[in-house]
């Protein structure tokens, strides 16, 4: 136990770059740091390129490298409801509120995540959808939900059905043993905001290094103008919409006037 702890501490030092220059480094680059939402936006795909940098002292990895890319969208507060029959009708009887889970979450890997490292390592590094922390609020207290919790499972399942959460085994491709490419799929219902990307490099079942990057999804042009007006000048926007409605109605009555 103590040996393991020391080993972990040493590993942490090595990862922090304080040790000898023996560890791998990740160099990553995104195809775009801004995804623009225009009137014809129907989803997008970002491509992430990365390379594993080694030097002469880096130890050889027999099992090769594994990459897990985790993309986390802006956080929101979500309530999951469970229906139950009350007096013969189905009503939302129970609910759990998840505290600031990501609105979008994609875990992309080059092979089965369970084969990349052992469960303990995966859990510690929060790798994979099933091991994501999803704290929930239960009667005022905030605690992490257990894996078997039906509300947690339902939340993950529904998010996957909406296309906002995903775990893909084959989304990372190694072009050469040290150069990889990952495709980040962004469905048409993605929320706008800052998306964080965490690229983890595994070798021989251990986390070797990780590297963060980020991109942004923004509305531009007309979309931005409308959304901005609705948010900042609510009453004016409402009056303008009403005026538009009246003009449309008047126009129709003029065009279709019979006499």
């Amino acid at each position: 136990m103590r040996a393991a702890r020391i080993a972990a501490a040493v590993l942490a030092l090595v990862l922090a770059g304080a040790g000898p220059a023996a560890a791998e480094k990740l160099v990553i680059s995104l195809s775009s740091s801004r995804v623009l939402i225009t009137p014809n936006f129907t989803g997008a795909e970002l491509v992430l390129f990365g390379s594993v940098e080694r030097d002469a002292q880096t130890v050889a990895r027999h099992g090769g490298y594994d990459i897990v890319v985790t993309v986390t969208g802006p956080r929101e507060t979500v309530t999951t409801f469970r229906k139950a029959r009350v007096f013969g009708i189905w009503v939302n009887a129970q609910s759990r509120t998840f505290v600031r889970p990501p609105s979008y979450l994609a875990v992309l890997a080059n092979r089965q995540i369970n084969d990349i490292a052992d469960l303990d390592t995966l859990r510690r590094t929060q790798t994979g959808l099933a091991r994501t922390l999803l704290p929930q609020e239960i009667s005022g207290d905030i605690g992490d939900s257990t894996r078997g919790d039906p509300f947690r499972q339902a939340f993950l399942r529904l998010k996957v059905e909406h296309g906002l959460y995903r775990e893909q085994q084959n989304a990372v491709t190694f072009l050469t043993p040290a150069l990889f490419r990952a495709t980040v799929p962004l469905p048409d219902n993605v929320p706008t905001g800052i998306y964080e990307i965490d690229v983890k490099l595994f070798g021989d079942g251990a986390l070797l290094t990780r590297s963060p990057t980020a991109f942004e999804i923004v509305k531009v042009g007309f979309e931005q103008f409308v959304a901005g007006a609705a948010r900042d000048h609510g009453i004016l926007y409402g009056l303008a919409t009403t005026l538009m409605a009246l003009l449309t109605g008047w126009f129709a009555s003029v065009v279709f006037r019979k006499d």
């Binding site: 939402i37 225009t38 009137p39 014809n40 936006f41 129907t42 802006p74 956080r75 929101e76 507060t77 979500v78 309530t79 999951t80 409801f81 469970r82 229906k83 139950a84 029959r85 013969g88 009708i89 189905w90 009503v91 939302n92 609910s95 509120t97 609105s103 039906p150 509300f151 339902a154 939340f155 529904l158 998010k159 048409d188 219902n189 929320p191 509305k219 007309f222 979309e223 931005q224 409308v226 959304a227 609705a230 609510g234 009453i235 926007y237 409402g238 009056l239 919409t241 009403t242 538009m244 409605a245 009246l246 449309t248 109605g249 008047w250 126009f251 129709a252 009555s253 279709f256 006037r257």
Partner: protein, 308 residues
């Protein structure tokens, strides 16, 4: 042909939305109703958030009822004094309804309330309309004269004080029931996201005894003002009105309404009431089905708040 909706935050097919506007507009023109009770569930069905759907449909209903109201005004088939009295109650009712809407949303029972209101109201009103119009049609078939309004058959409502003469409608009636009806329609409309024309028309005919000729035009004025008011309120408080969605809906809606109004003239008023009754009843039963039958998925997720 896809277009991204800036407030609903998802792309939709323009032609599909336009077609929905046309179809609902046709029905609203035919029966002289706003069509909100059909449009709101349809939008929710294609994936638009319920709150955005309710808020955007309000402006769509305002557009189609304005178009209709102008047509009825040209034919002098609306009663401005009656509409004004209805509006007094209607605007107070809308304000009260929005207040309850916010309260129910805070305690998490809004969906159930909306579902139950749709179920009870639509089934009851639809059922009554079907029965009443079937009776009238059967009577007509048997060659008996239509039930005539006898001067002596006044209800207790006609004995209330604060009587006022409505020249266009040729009725002399207390303003109390009129304001009350306006209040109820505004209140229910704000909670259910509907204009309430399908409730107002029978209420005016059966309770106030307004002549059928001016009922639809007058009802459209109330719908127009409450829905325009609701659009501004939704935009100011919740920022959920999607102007792009609303514009596509209203273009389809006003065109459909014109054809609907022409189609409506081919039917007798009993037949129209029967058709509308069946339609209202069908939507009510659809909500009953959702509430009574075990849903395929017991779980739902709802975003409570976005970014801070």
């Amino acid at each position: 042909m896809q277009i991204y909706l800036p407030i609903a935050e998802l792309p939709v097919n323009v032609l599909l939305i336009l077609f929905m506007g046309l179809a609902v507009g046709f029905i609203s023109g035919m029966f002289g109703i706003g069509g909100g009770f059909l449009m709101t569930p349809l939008l929710i069905f294609i994936g638009i958030a319920p709150a955005v759907a309710v808020a955007s449909v309000a402006s769509h209903v305002a557009a189609s009822s304005f178009s209709g109201a102008i047509t009825y005004w040209r034919r002098r088939a609306l009663d401005p004094a009656l509409a004004a009295m209805l509006l007094v109650g209607g605007l107070i009712g809308t304000t009260a309804g929005v207040w309850l809407f916010t309260l129910l949303r805070a305690i998490g029972q809004l969906d159930l309330t909306i579902g139950l209101s749709y179920l009870i109201l639509l089934s009851a009103v639809g059922g009554m309309m079907v029965v009443e119009s079937l009776r009238a049609i059967i009577r007509a078939r048997e060659g008996k004269p239509a039930e005539v309004r006898r001067p002596g058959s006044h209800m207790w409502i006609h004995g209330l004080p604060l009587k006022m003469r409505f020249k266009t409608s040729k009725i002399y009636v207390s303003v109390i029931p009129i304001c009350t009806i306006g209040f109820i329609i505004g209140f229910i409309g704000a909670i259910m996201g509907i204009g309430g024309g399908f409730l107002l028309v029978p209420a005016l005919i059966y309770i106030i005894r307004v002549p059928t000729g001016v009922v639809i035009g007058t009802s459209m004025v109330l719908t127009l003002v409450t829905m325009a008011y609701a659009t501004v309120m939704h935009a100011a408080t919740n920022h959920l009105v999607d102007a792009v969605l609303a514009l596509i809906l209203m273009i389809g809606g006003v065109i459909g309404a014109q054809f609907g109004a022409r189609a409506g003239q081919r039917f007798s008023s009993e037949q129209l009431r029967l058709l509308l009754g069946i339609l209202v009843l069908a939507v009510g039963l659809r909500f009953a089905f959702d509430l009574v039958v075990q849903p395929a998925d017991l779980f739902t997720v709802r975003t409570i708040e976005g970014l801070p």
